[in-house]
Amino acid sequence: MSKRTATLTAYSLVLLILFFATNCYAVVWSSNELIEKSKELNGRKLNYRGELVTTSLNRGEYSWINLNDGFNAIGVWCKSSSLRDVKFAGDYKNKGDMIEVNGVFNRACSAHNGELDIHADTIKIVRYGHPVNRTIDTKRIESAIILFVVVFFAVIVFRKRL
C-alpha cells in the first residue's frame, strides 16, 4: 500500500468515525426504547427529550424533573441551576417546556433506590411551553341546567317518595 493510499484510508476512517459519533450523539431515544432496551443502554450517555410535567422537585443543589415524551415520563436528576430558564411545567392549564437532556442512563440507579433514571450533564430547552386556552362547551352547561331543573321539580313534587 502506497503512503498516499494509507493517508487517504486513515482520513476516510476518521471521517467515518466522526460521522457516526456525531450522529449517534444526536439520536434522541424514546422512553419506550429506554424501558425496552434498558439492559443494552445501561450506563450509556444518551439524549432524551420530553415535556416537563407538573413541577420540578428541588432537592437543594440537584433537582428531579419528569420528562414525558408522550409514552412515559422518565425521571431526570439534574443540577438545580440548569433549570433556571424553565418557564412552564405541563399540567391542565399549561403545556410544559420541551426539554432535551444529555446524560447517563441508569437502568436501576444505585444512587437513587434502584430507579430507572437519567443523570443529566446538559439540559436544553428545545421549545418553551405556553398556557392552554380551554373553551367551555356551552351545550353542556345548558343541558346541566335543564336536567337540574327537572330534578329539582321532581324532588319537590315527589319528596314523600324519596
Binding site: 434498558s38 434502584g114 380551554r134
Partner: protein, 501 residues
C-alpha cells in the same frame, strides 16, 4: 323449582338502587367544588351535568319503584351487585367528558377499576388531567373501598335487617358494632382518622421532597385514599415513581398494610387489645404469606441481578410485593420492567401474593388470608385425625377476635370462594392468551384485575382489545363482591325468564 320474581321484587331493587345512585350524585359535588376552587370551568360544567344526570336517574328509580317493603336476601344481594354496575355507568360520565378516555367503555373501565379498588387505568395523558377529574378518580376509589352500600347505609338508608343483607352482599360480613349503620359509621370514623394522619404525613414528605405545598396536599389526599383503600390510582402517570421520594414509599407501605387489615381488628386494637395483633389468624397468615411470597420474588429478582446494592434490591422487591399482597397496585417501576427485568419467577411471586390478598372486611380483594388460614387449619385437622386414635375427639380452633371452633361450614364457604377466585383468575388468563399475550403476562394481569390489585405488566392500555377490557371489568366486579351477590343476581335473571309463576 325456581319461582319467577314478582313485580314488587323489582320495585324493591329499583327503589334501593335509586337511593344508592342519589348518594353517588351527591358525592360528585365534591369534585364540582374542587373544579370551582381550581378555576377549572369546563370541569365544573361537566360535573354539574353529571350531578344532574345522576340525581335524575336516582330520583326516577326511587319515584317509579317507590316501596316501603324491606329487603329480603335476594333483593339485597341483587341491589349490592347491580349498584356497582349502575355506579360504574354514572361515575364514568364526568371521566368521559374530560376527554382523557378513548371511549365510554374506557371511562367505565376506569370507574369500575376505581370502585373495585383495583387501580388499572386507561387514562390518556394523565399528567394533564384537571384536578377535579383526578380527584373524582380517587374519590371513586375511596367510596368503593368503603363500599358503595356502606355510603348509602351511612347517609340514606335506615338500619333495617335488609340493610344488613345489602352490607353482606358487598363482601362485608362482620358486624363490628351492634347495629349495621353504626358499623358503617365506625368504618368511616376509622378511615377519617387515618385520612388526617396519613395525608398529613404524606404532605410533609411531599413538601420535603420538593413539591409545592398545595400540590403536596392535593396529591397526599389522593394517594392516601388510594393507599388506605388499597386501590392504586395515582395522580401522575408514573404512579409513586413520580415523587422520587423514599419517605413517600415508606409511608405508603404503612398505609397499604393498615388498609389490608380487618376493620374488626382495627376496632379491637383501638379499644386497647393489642395482643390480638399477635394471635389473630389473619395477621399470622398474612405474615407467613408475605415471608413466603417475598422469598420467591426476591429469589427471582436476585437471579436476574438487576439491582446493585442491598437497599435498591430490598426496597424495590418489598415495595412491589406489599403493593401486590395488599391489593394496592402502587408501583415505582414501569410495567414492562416486570417482564423485561424481573423475570418469570419474581412475577410468579408477586402474582401469588396478589392472588392471596389481605384480610376479610378490609378494602383488599382476592382470596384473603383468613380463608387461606382456615383451609390450612382444616387440612391440619384432617391429617391429625388420621394420626390419633379413632375414638379420640379432636377439636380444631382458630383465633379471630375470639376463639372459634373450626366447623365444616367455615371450611366449605372458604373453599367455595377460593375455587371461585381460581376460576376467575383462569378465565381472565385464557382471555388474555386468546388476545395474544403470553401465559405469564396474561396470568399476571388477570390476577391483578380479579384480585383488585392494579399492578400491570403492560397489557392494560387504551389500545388493548375491547373484549379484554370487558373481561377485566367483569373480573374486577365479581372479584370485589366475592361472587355471592353476583351469583344471586344471575340467579334472579334466570328466574325472570325460566322461573314458574
Amino acid at each position: 323449582m325456581i319461582l319467577r320474581p314478582h313485580l314488587d321484587d323489582y320495585k324493591i331493587i329499583g327503589f334501593y338502587l335509586g337511593k344508592i345512585t342519589i348518594s353517588i350524585g351527591i358525592a360528585m359535588m365534591i369534585p364540582f367544588i374542587i373544579a370551582l376552587a381550581y378555576s377549572e370551568w369546563q370541569g365544573a360544567a361537566d360535573f354539574l351535568l353529571s350531578i344532574s344526570f345522576t340525581l335524575l336517574v336516582g330520583t326516577l328509580f326511587s319515584i317509579i319503584c317507590y316501596t316501603r317493603k324491606d329487603l329480603a336476601t335476594m333483593h339485597a344481594m341483587s341491589v349490592a351487585a347491580l349498584s356497582w354496575i349502575v355506579a360504574m355507568f354514572v361515575s364514568a360520565l364526568p371521566l368521559y367528558l374530560s376527554g382523557h378516555y378513548g371511549s365510554y367503555l374506557d371511562a367505565s373501565f376506569e370507574a369500575m377499576s376505581g370502585y373495585a379498588t383495583t387501580g388499572l387505568s386507561l387514562a390518556i395523558d394523565l399528567d394533564h388531567m384537571a384536578s377535579s377529574y383526578n380527584f373524582w378518580r380517587h374519590l371513586i376509589m375511596f367510596m368503593g373501598g368503603q363500599g358503595i352500600v356502606v355510603i348509602a347505609l351511612t347517609f340514606l338508608v335506615r338500619g333495617t335487617a335488609g340493610a344488613f343483607r345489602m352490607y353482606v352482599g358487598e363482601a362485608r360480613d362482620e358486624k363490628i358494632m351492634p347495629n349495621v349503620v353504626e358499623t358503617a359509621r365506625f368504618i368511616w370514623l376509622v378511615s377519617m382518622v387515618y385520612l388526617v394522619l396519613g395525608s398529613g404525613a404524606l404532605s410533609i414528605a411531599g413538601i420535603w421532597g420538593g413539591l409545592p405545598p398545595l400540590k403536596a396536599i392535593f396529591d397526599s389526599v389522593c394517594i392516601f385514599m388510594a393507599a388506605w383503600d388499597t386501590g392504586g390510582f395515582a395522580p401522575q402517570s408514573q404512579s409513586i415513581l413520580f415523587y422520587h421520594n423514599f419517605l413517600f414509599e415508606i409511608i405508603t407501605i404503612s398505609l397499604m398494610l393498615l388498609g389490608s387489615i380487618n376493620f374488626a381488628l382495627h376496632y379491637v386494637v383501638w379499644t386497647g387489645n393489642r395482643r390480638e395483633l399477635y394471635r389473630n389468624i389473619e395477621i399470622v397468615t398474612l405474615f407467613i404469606s408475605i415471608i413466603v411470597t417475598l422469598s420467591i420474588t426476591a429469589w427471582g429478582v436476585l437471579e436476574k441481578n438487576v439491582y446493585a446494592g442491598s437497599l435498591p434490591f430490598s426496597s424495590k422487591t418489598f415495595y412491589h410485593l406489599i403493593s401486590g399482597h395488599t391489593g394496592t397496585g402502587f408501583s415505582t417501576i414501569y410495567p414492562r420492567q416486570f417482564i423485561n427485568e424481573w423475570g418469570a419467577l419474581a412475577m410468579f411471586g408477586v402474582t401469588l401474593a396478589m392472588a392471596i390478598g389481605g384480610s376479610v372486611c378490609s378494602t383488599t380483594g382476592a382470596i384473603k388470608v383468613f380463608r387461606i388460614g382456615i383451609i390450612y387449619k382444616a387440612l391440619r385437622q384432617e391429617i391429625k385425625k388420621m394420626l390419633i386414635p379413632e375414638t379420640a375427639i379432636f377439636v380444631q380452633k382458630i383465633h379471630h377476635i375470639k376463639d372459634i371452633v373450626l366447623e365444616d361450614k367455615y371450611v366449605r364457604i372458604s373453599a367455595i370462594i377460593l375455587i371461585s377466585y381460581v376460576n376467575l383468575y383462569i378465565f381472565g388468563t385464557v382471555a388474555g392468551m386468546l388476545c395474544g399475550y403470553s401465559l405469564s403476562e396474561a396470568l399476571f394481569e388477570s390476577v391483578s384485575a380479579a384480585a383488585n390489585v392494579g399492578l400491570s405488566c403492560g397489557i392494560t392500555s387504551p389500545t388493548m382489545p375491547s373484549a379484554l377490557k370487558i373481561v377485566y371489568i367483569l373480573q374486577m366486579w365479581a372479584g370485589r363482591l366475592e361472587f355471592i351477590a353476583v351469583m344471586v343476581l344471575f340467579g334472579m335473571v334466570i328466574a325472570t325468564f325460566r322461573g314458574k309463576r
